[in-house]
């Protein structure tokens, strides 16, 4: 019997295998995103494409919120603020940048051509800017718990909205834009009118690319050491601290992660609707996102996906009730909270439920 130390090189998987295993889900994500765009999109028609786009963006936003609310157990109800910050950053880059560097306001076609690359850069910038705000919001969490943190995050969301409303007007004339530097233009985000004429780069591919990547990351996070630290902080912060978890760092990191993807969500939203209105991305939007997370099941990835799908599609479906649409929605909310307070999935994933296991057992027989 050789000593364990000698056997380690044999036990460790080959570099190629471990990189492959790591990267495989992302490769699958790219393929699936492609499939969504090229196969599913044309098959379901324009209306359902729009709905699928909305669902994908909702998954991105609610999934990122789930890391803050569900995993870390922090009470954040200002998530739309990150979305707004990211959206503005991306729109600034693509709209003004397009005029400055490409001489046009229209989106430039071509897969991964200069237009789409600028858009991707915009998305990344959106994530980064939103993360900066994530740090700013995450820091007060050091001293606040529960409802108080909720109100502060709500306040942050409102502050973002007001800041958006006091920016300067957005010049639409190409010559005027070219005369101003990109830096100067960073204050011209539209003000109360909002930012419009954002080039429409969002497609099913990009939305589901980012959504699937987020889902993979969130899944891995949940079952990793860092994820356990998050869950520990959620369950009992003092005990976690006593066990050596750096709760400050964990909480701030949760906010940064959540804000990053919310920023990307904001960018995708802006490039899909073609405009950003700060009044529409205020605390009602944040509440919508919290509702998705809570109804789907906080801390459950499948729950969030299910919640996003249901809550985007529900208002469409309730259209048949006309005037009573919002009343039906409100009643549905109250009923779900009373009858099923843990949300549809609770904290479990689909594959952890007893129902799933029974189906699998039945198949195996």
């Amino acid at each position: 019997m050789r000593a364990l130390q000698d056997r380690v090189p044999d036990l460790r998987p080959a570099l190629a295998t471990s990189v492959g295993r790591s990267a495989l889900p992302f490769a699958i994500a790219v393929v699936l995103a492609f499939a969504m765009d090229k196969l599913v999109g044309p098959a379901v028609g324009a209306t359902w494409t729009k709905i699928l786009l909305d669902v994908g963006i909702a998954i991105l936003l609610a999934g990122s919120l789930n890391v803050i609310n569900g995993y870390a157990g922090q009470f954040s109800i200002g998530h739309a603020g990150f979305m707004l910050a990211g959206g503005y950053a991306a729109a600034w880059l693509t709209f003004y940048g397009s005029v400055h560097w490409f001489g046009t306001k229209e989106p430039i076609a071509g897969f991964l051509g200069k237009g789409q690359l600028l858009f991707l850069a915009g998305c990344v910038l959106a994530g980064v800017i939103a993360s900066v705000f994530g740090v700013i919001v995450g820091l007060p969490t050091l001293r606040l718990r529960g409802d108080y943190l909720a109100i502060v995050t709500l306040g942050f969301g409102e502050i973002m909205r007001v800041l958006g409303q006091i920016t300067a007007r957005q010049p639409k004339n190409m010559t005027t834009i070219k005369d101003m530097s990109m830096f100067d233009l960073s204050n011209n985000l539209g003000g109360a009118e909002g930012f419009s004429q954002v080039p429409s780069y969002t497609t099913l591919f990009f939305v589901y690319l980012f959504a699937f990547v987020l889902l993979v990351l969130v899944y891995r996070l949940k079952y990793s050491t860092q994820g356990r630290a998050l869950l520990a902080v959620r369950e009992n912060e003092i005990a976690a601290e006593a066990m050596g978890v750096d709760t400050t760092r964990v909480k701030v990191v949760a906010f940064i992660f959540g804000a990053f993807f919310a920023g990307i969500g904001g960018s995708l939203y802006a490039h899909q609707v073609g405009a950003l209105d700060p009044k529409e991305l205020g605390f009602m939007k944040s509440i919508d996102l919290v509702i998705i997370v809570v109804i789907g099941g906080m801390g459950s990835i499948t729950g969030v996906v299910l919640g996003a799908a249901i809550l985007v599609i529900l208002p469409e479906v309730f259209r048949q009730f006309a005037d009573y649409r919002m009343i039906a929605y409100a009643l549905a909310l109250i009923l779900v909270m009373i009858l099923r307070p843990q949300g549809i999935m609770g904290v479990k994933e689909l594959w952890e439920t007893s129902w799933w296991r029974r189906q699998l057992a039945r198949l195996k027989k």
Partner: protein
């Protein structure tokens, strides 16, 4: 008048007291409920808006709003409408608690928050229906002639402002007497301190909760009427009611949640920031009108500062967390 004159200062002070009174009435509802149940009643701002609209419905049914002229109604109209509305709002508060919040007494707080949001959305949208209040703005200015009572140093003391200040003082004092001077009040304080022990000591927690909601909602109704007299009524789903509620909640938190005097103090502070800072900052930057929109930011800014440095609020007592 120049913005730095004494009469302007006096005028601004009166403004600030009136606005502070409004916030106080609404903040008290939040603070009482939070003190007992540790839960932010998101639907409270909708009780405020419903209070205003119920007052309108009552007054218009009695025919007092027909002429549309300011102060056209008889003198007893306003007090009557006030009492009726406060009673109806109290009943509403108790019903909502019974139906929507009691089943969730043991549930995690985020869930109750979502339910409260559901109730809020429900009230807003039911209020919009044509059969209920409709979706057009209206007014109850017929109920009160905003006369000038006296002119002191160039400043007009108007009936509305004096009435608001007077009514707020009266209601706050009455509430304080109830909470600190009656058995029910003692029961309320006991439940807010420790619910289980209070019930072991023979306090009927359900009754206490209902009474709390009744009191808070009645005050909210009064606040709604006063707000409507000052600024007229926008439809129930209008964002201005929600913002009003939010600022009142911030006032309650800043003053020390669960604490009657704290809510009043917090309301005065928030009103001070809004009215005074707004007036003088605006005067200092006449060419930057967007400065006026920063009011909301000041309010939340104060909240964050207070919570960072004195989390239990200005008049609250620090609660030691036991491991």
């Amino acid at each position: 008048m120049s913005s730095l004159s004494a009469s302007d200062l006096l005028q601004t002070t009166i403004n600030f007291l009136a606005v502070g009174g409004l916030y106080a009435l609404i903040a008290l509802g939040y603070t009482l409920v939070y003190g007992i149940l540790r839960f932010i009643n998101f639907a409270h701002s909708d009780i405020v808006s419903w209070g205003a609209w119920i007052a309108l419905t009552v007054a218009s049914a009695a025919g007092w709003l027909a002429s549309g002229r300011s102060g056209a109604a008889p003198a007893f109209a306003l007090p009557l409408v006030l009492l009726v509305t406060m009673a109806v709002c109290a009943a509403m508060g108790v019903t909502i608690e019974r139906l929507a919040y009691r089943p969730l007494r043991k549930a995690p707080r985020l869930n109750v928050l979502i339910t409260a949001i559901g109730v809020s959305l429900f009230l807003q949208n039911v209020g919009l229906l044509d059969k209920v209040f409709g979706n057009r703005p209206s007014t109850i200015s017929a109920l009160l002639q905003n006369d000038v009572l006296a002119t002191v140093g160039g400043v007009q003391l108007r009936l509305f402002d004096m009435l608001t200040i007077f009514l707020t003082l009266v209601l706050v004092v009455v509430l304080e007497r109830i909470v600190y001077g009656t058995r029910m009040g003692r029961a309320m304080r006991a439940v807010s301190f420790d619910e289980r022990v209070a019930s072991l000591m023979g306090v009927n927690v359900n009754v206490v909760v209902s009474v709390t909601f009744a009191l808070g909602s009645a005050l909210a109704g009064a606040g709604g009427i006063l707000f409507a007299l000052r600024n007229d009524l926008r439809m129930t789903a209008d964002a201005s009611w929600v913002l009003l509620g939010l600022k009142a909640f911030v006032a309650a938190v800043v003053g020390g949640i669960g604490n009657v005097r704290g809510a009043a103090a917090g309301a005065l502070l928030i009103a001070f920031v809004e009215v005074f800072v707004h007036r003088y900052v605006n005067a200092a930057f006449p060419d930057k009108p967007w400065v006026g929109q920063l009011q909301d930011i000041y309010v939340f800014g104060i909240l964050i500062l207070v919570l960072m440095f004195k989390p239990s609020g200005l008049l609250g007592k620090a609660v030691r967390e036991k491991v």
